[in-house]
């Protein structure tokens, strides 16, 4: 049965094909990769478990409702702190960022995909990606010392002429370090995310749809509305959601630009407001044990909000894959 040496006369000796059905090299390598994947699961489980565990002490000793209370004194006796201000500020700055970044990002993506000559489109795509490479500390530095002084006149104009709209009103007559300026800097930071993903989605629109629309005599904008938007709507929404995910978690730029006042502030042109991630960065150093536990609790909430946003985005992308008919 066993014939390790191959005879010239092939008919006589059956080939040697028996052996371990799983080779040691295969087994070891598979083991290594599988455990590497499991390690990722373990790390994530540790992070989640640890954050929950470490946030429990401050949540149980809080003398007020930690979700609704509007002040931050976790190291006082008794501890009194709440995260409503922080969550409000995070959401409010992110909403402003979205209102600005989504139309501009999608417009820039449309320009690159359908309007610009190919060479210009490549260059432009590269530059937009380059914007994504700028570290957030640099956005903060530039936002504070270069961008903000240029926006203040605009804020004044908004408060003067559109002040009858509640969010633009400004009783303090101060226009720096406002929610709007923080939101605008966030918008610039998430612009490349929104634009790059939308561009990818636009480039996947089947050529046939586009040519069919143009062949029917549609103008370019009608082609975009008839052929491009219906196909890419889920992708555009998910681009916006991923941008939102980035805006929600941004720390340093907002910490530098927004003046940290612990109050719910709807007026976007006035200084003041707060946000989850910057609050952690600013308060961590001086916080006591319970203070850190409370900060961890806010970080946990931020993690969950980001998670829901990101999951929604991915779900929409995957759903599109299922019935887009693109392939």
């Amino acid at each position: 049965m066993s014939a390790p040496v191959r005879e010239p006369s092939r008919a006589d000796s059956p080939p040697a094909i028996t052996g371990a059905s799983v080779r040691p090299g295969d087994r070891n390598f598979r083991f290594l990769t599988t455990w590497s994947g499991i390690l990722v699961l373990v790390i994530l489980a540790t992070i989640a478990a640890f954050l929950v565990w470490k946030s429990i002490p401050s949540l149980t000793t809080d003398s007020v409702n930690p979700l609704t209370y509007q002040a931050w004194a976790p190291d006082a006796d008794p501890p009194a702190w709440g995260m409503s201000v922080l969550i409000f500020g995070t959401l409010w700055t992110s909403v402003i960022a979205m209102v600005i970044a989504v139309p501009i990002g999608i417009g820039a993506a449309l320009f690159i995909a359908f309007y610009a000559p190919p060479r210009l489109a490549t260059g432009l795509g590269f530059f937009v990606d380059l914007l994504a490479a700028v570290p957030s500390i640099i956005f903060g530095l530039w936002g504070l010392y270069n961008f903000m002084p240029q926006v203040v006149p605009f804020s004044e104009w908004l408060a003067t002429y559109l002040g009858w709209i509640p969010i633009f009103s400004n009783e303090k007559e101060l226009y720096t370090k406002s929610i709007m300026i923080a939101g605008m800097v966030l918008a610039i930071m998430i612009l490349p995310t929104v634009s790059a993903i939308s561009r990818e989605v636009f480039l996947q629109v089947p050529k046939g749809h586009i040519e069919a629309a143009l062949a029917l005599g549609a103008t370019r904008w009608e082609m975009v509305r008839m052929a491009v938007f219906p196909f890419s709507r889920p992708g555009m929404i998910s681009a916006a959601m991923l941008g939102l995910g980035r805006a929600l978690g941004e720390t340093i730029a907002v910490a530098l630009i927004l003046s940290a006042v612990f109050e719910i502030n709807w007026q976007i042109t006035e200084p003041g407001g707060n946000s989850v991630a910057p609050n952690i960065a600013l308060k961590w150093g001086e916080a006591g044990a319970n203070g850190r536990s409370a900060l961890i609790a806010t970080g946990l909430i931020l993690f969950f909000i980001t998670l829901i946003v990101n999951m929604t985005a991915r779900w929409m992308v995957n759903r599109r894959k299922d019935f887009s008919g693109a392939n």
């Binding site: 092939r10 008919a11 059956p14 080939p15 094909i17 028996t18 052996g19 059905s21 080779r23």
Partner: protein
């Protein structure tokens, strides 16, 4: 294992190897397929195949698209199971040894049975030389070194009728060759590991007619040393190069494929017994 000489019938008929070559000394069967059912997950793709293939001959699998001829071919060197969820029932005997027995190493089976694919697939990171010896190098037996390796490269490339065309640029990337040259490089790569059997899955379907003729000439030469099983959708090609032909068909979409009839090629093409074979050969469908 005692059934090396067992005569195995086919689904429709029982054509022996004796028909055309009665006078010659009978060679034992190289491969026998017994009651083979092939599944993708729960889907039965091919049902109850029984077939015997002689050594040093060319066997062609023909049939309409989706009839399972490529699937059967891939079970012969255990490449079928590479697809997730794919499995087989039944036996495939290689010189009497069941390659699906529990103690068989599929890697060793694939070293004994080489395979050439529909689309040429030279390794893009390797030169022509490295492509030819890729199998030997990656099999990790340090038997071949230096000059021995050079000899194997030359023999294999000569065997694949490619040596004269590439001997001056062995260190150039394999991906830079033409489609027909790439396919012959893949054949050289397959024969460099000295297999007993060569499986070819529509090896010429992606090539132009001149390259196709070159591959067919090569197959006729190779059969003096190898048992060759080739899947083709081109009946003229089967007629030109195959000693024996097996016809597969399926009743309809979603139905399993079956082996309808097999036998010496000239019988299959001139005197088929099954009505489905007659219809297919005469071009009524497929």
């Amino acid at each position: 294992m005692t059934n090396a000489d067992t005569h195995v019938g086919t689904a429709a008929e029982t054509p022996g190897p004796s028909g055309a070559t009665a006078q010659e000394a009978r060679l034992p069967y190289r491969i026998e397929i017994k009651d083979l059912n092939i599944y993708y997950g729960d889907f039965l793709a091919v049902e109850k195949v029984n077939l015997a293939i002689e050594q040093r001959s060319v066997m062609a699998f023909i049939g309409p698209s989706g009839c399972g001829k490529s699937t059967v071919l891939r079970t012969l060197d255990r490449m079928h199971e590479v697809t997730p969820g794919a499995r087989v029932e039944g036996q495939v005997l290689l010189d009497g040894q069941d390659i699906y027995a529990p103690n068989v190493d599929p890697v060793l089976v694939r070293r004994t049975i080489g395979m050439v694919f529909q689309r040429p697939n030279p390794f893009p990171t390797m030169s022509i030389y490295e492509n030819v010896v890729a199998g030997l190098k990656l099999q990790k037996d340090g038997r071949h070194r230096g000059r021995a390796m050079d000899d194997i490269v030359e023999q294999s490339l000569r065997g694949a009728n490619l040596w004269e065309e590439v001997k001056d640029r062995l260190s150039k990337p394999g991906a830079g060759l033409s489609g027909g040259q790439q396919q012959r490089l893949c054949i050289a790569r397959a024969i460099a590991i000295q297999p007993e059997v060569l499986l070819m899955d529509e090896p010429a379907s992606a090539l132009d007619s001149i390259s196709t003729l070159a591959i067919e000439d090569l197959i006729r030469e190779l059969k003096s040393q190898y048992t060759i099983i080739i899947v083709t959708h081109n009946m003229q090609q089967a007629h030109r190069i195959a000693d024996n032909t097996a016809f597969f068909n399926l009743a309809g979409v979603g139905q399993p494929g079956h082996l309808i009839e097999s036998g010496p090629t000239h019988v299959m093409f001139n005197n088929p017994k099954n009505q489905q074979t007659i219809d297919y050969i005469q071009g009524r469908f497929g």
